[in-house]
Subunit: 191 residues, 2 copies
């Protein structure tokens, strides 16, 4: 019994209140294949007091992505506190709306830090935006550079693909239910 | 054309990641009538890494409340940044899931600060929890004190009822579309 179905389709999400990036890839053995990527923008409703309308755009937009591409799992970036506490609160609300859209669609949600994503994609936790864009372009053999938000989202999907492979190897070596895989991936499995 | 239908049913929400309070009241002219109140608890999933599961409980729980009581509008407390930035982030995510559940159900969402709620309920912005519980009990002629989370949620619903009346009076005096009502209420009207 495999840890997850192969081939598997993974949706990566880089949450933000202004712009949320998404990226969809297929994983089949060692092969990663680009499916789609883009951003959901809420800047049309940016005036003060429009928070509910902006969260609805994020929720509806991600649900539309899930309906269109039918991923098997999602990976969301773990956001950190900002120097500006008000920004932290806004980002938290955006991330809450994004995760809610995913779990409402029945998707298992894994969480990874930017550090984990950068290590998985570029082999270097302090890689900058341009390096991530270039590595994502190479790993998915894209004809051009993805935008920075979409690149981060595709990077998260790639990170989840790698974590899944590591988990599968561990499970094969130790029997199902064993393994010391990342906590975030294991939690992501529970529906 | 009235600003909102009379009688009107209002759902108040006091968002929190551990415990979210809700309270439902009917407004008919000067009469406020208690309908229901309670809390949604996510503490069964409190271990680290269970955030998506907890946000799903909040989202599903609030949708169940909306389905059961069919409110016409919702009022949500505006939360403030905490001394602990990590708590701010968690609270933001919980609030994002709550608001998402409301807008997904097609409800107009108004936002009020705790100060506005305390002034509306107790006539005093620095009223403490016990005073709010007691004033909510009196205003809704409850047989006993509501719990603190439910009392805050009922207080928000009462605040929205008062704000709506003020808006209606302004609209009558100045013609529809006029008035200097609170921004939060006006935003809440846009679906």
């Amino acid at each position: 019994m495999p840890i997850y179905p192969e081939p598997m389709r993974i949706l990566g999400i880089d949450p933000g209140l202004r712009t949320t990036g998404f990226g969809v890839i297929d994983v089949d053995g060692q092969t990663l294949r680009y499916v789609a990527s883009g951003t959901i923008s809420t800047t049309r409703h940016i005036e003060n007091g429009q928070l509910p309308a902006r969260l609805k755009i994020l929720f509806d937009g991600l649900r539309e992505v899930v309906t269109r591409y039918e991923p098997d799992a999602a990976a969301v970036e773990i956001v950190f506190v900002n120097v500006n506490p008000q920004s932290t609160l806004l980002l938290g609300q955006a991330r809450g709306a994004c995760i809610t859209a995913l779990v409402h669609s029945g998707l298992p949600v894994a969480e990874y830090t930017a550090l984990q994503m950068k290590q998985a994609v570029a082999g270097y936790g302090r890689a900058d935006k341009a390096q991530i864009q270039e590595m994502v372009r190479r790993l998915l053999t894209l004809p051009g550079l993805p935008g920075p938000d979409a690149a981060d989202a595709l990077g998260l999907a790639i990170t989840h693909a790698h974590a899944g492979k590591a988990m599968a190897r561990l499970a094969q070596a130790e029997g199902l239910g064993g393994g010391q895989g990342t906590a975030s991936y294991r939690d992501g499995r529970s529906r």
